[in-house]
Symmetry: C2
Subunit: 259 residues, 2 copies
């Protein structure tokens, strides 16, 4: 590819500390001349001599993408770091949007996306296998889509028996959406449906807890929380002296219907 100049890697760090880093991600971090990312993610990456660091705010995804692409197009080896997996509610889509609408030289870049452990996989692993059957991942942020579309997706997913992983359940600017989503799901699912809350999984102060759908809206949640809402088949195993296991069986015997 003689007309390719510059290299951009988009690297998934996983949800927490270095234990979640893949060998491929570690190698890609070591290979970069410049790192771009949200400051809290960059802080997880050890400082290396000769590697520049460019931190930005969490909400500046498009500006960060443009700066990283321009830097790479100058011929450098640039990496954008992302929490979790870069392709799941993270930087990879922002970079693709920038490439599609930006200057032609950005389309000539060698782009490598390095997958990571996304939050729902880490939270699920902590509690058993709640994603053991068909499931979906849905962001509750209505910054980039209308709330009516979120409601429609909650109805569709719960009505058809998908386990539902809720990303971005609550932020300071979105205080009511999580409670409204839980109430919406209660139209489809029994009160006793298990709901898993994982906060800061893999980081200091990690918490993972299980409650039921009828009281789930009272559970604290924030931007560091990932919520998994089970189906009517999701099971809870009580264990003596150990935390419970939550799992969704591999088999579904009937076409599920709404309550």
């Amino acid at each position: 590819m003689s007309d390719v100049s510059g290299h951009l890697a988009v690297i998934g760090l996983g949800p927490g500390d270095a234990r979640y880093l893949t060998a491929e991600a570690a190698a890609a971090l070591a290979d970069a001349q410049a790192l771009y990312g949200y400051a809290a993610y960059l802080d997880r990456v050890p400082v290396r001599d000769g590697q520049s660091r460019h931190a930005s705010d969490n909400r500046e995804e498009s500006a960060r993408a443009a700066a990283a692409l321009d830097h790479a197009a100058s011929g450098a080896r640039v990496a954008v770091v992302s929490g979790g997996d870069p392709g799941v509610f993270a930087m990879a889509a922002a970079l693709c949007e920038a490439i599609e609408t930006g200057p032609e030289r950005w389309r000539r870049l060698d782009v490598a996306i390095v997958p990571g452990i996304t939050a729902m996989l880490a939270v699920a692993a902590r509690i058993g296998a709640p994603l053991g059957h068909d499931f979906c991942a849905l962001s509750l942020s209505d910054n980039l889509k209308p709330w009516e579309l979120i409601e429609r997706r909650l109805d569709a997913a719960a009505g058809a028996g998908f386990v539902i992983a809720l990303y971005n359940p609550v932020s300071r600017a979105r205080p009511w959406q999580f409670g409204a989503a839980i109430e919406r799901l209660r139209l489809h699912l029994p009160d006793a449906t298990p709901v898993v809350f994982g906060r800061a999984v893999g980081r200091a102060g990690e918490t993972v807890s299980v409650t039921t759908l009828d009281i789930a809206r009272k559970n604290p949640a924030d931007m560091a929380t990932l919520v998994i809402v089970g189906t009517r088949e999701t099971r809870l195993i009580v264990r003596p002296g150990l935390p419970p296991l939550v799992y969704t069986p591999r088999a579904a015997t009937a076409v599920e219907v709404s309550a």
Copy 2:
């Protein structure tokens, strides 16, 4: 936890070679006295002195779970290896099912599930960010659920605008299901909807290609293939001298409706 005896780890190897292994998974593999798993997954793990290996057939998940649990309950450190992520159409749910219905001593085991890169994340990373918006993961195997339920989930997911990752699209015993699923999705989505096929990603002979929904059923697929069907908002970026990028924008501007 004085009454805990034995230790069982369920380890996600990721979709391919060791580059996808997390640091946590590598440590858990090194720590085990005995490894259980489908032979093709065990073959990816280097042989270690003093570590026994117990290979079984892909379809013997329940028997493998019982054997590993019994071995761990004898006081050993046992690991079950799983391709991709153990919680996504893999061994973690089978082990939870065994624990729930098995002898009481299995409930006293220290169980650790170690997440891994599941196939849809690896395939998505290879092609851009097709999972950049809300998405679902659906197994097309009707061994453990009725085909009518799969159709209902296809309708629900496509109708509400979820990107759809199809696991287990085709097997020797299930030759027609993939074509039927694609035709079902065509009731909801335009002919030009991008469809990504990733086969053996991260392994020898990896292929990733993009086609459109109208002709997707003619594309070869097997048990090593993961298929991602976009939404009506999924975009394809053509690049000079480079493979195309496929991504789903972060923003959705309207409540999507079926065709």
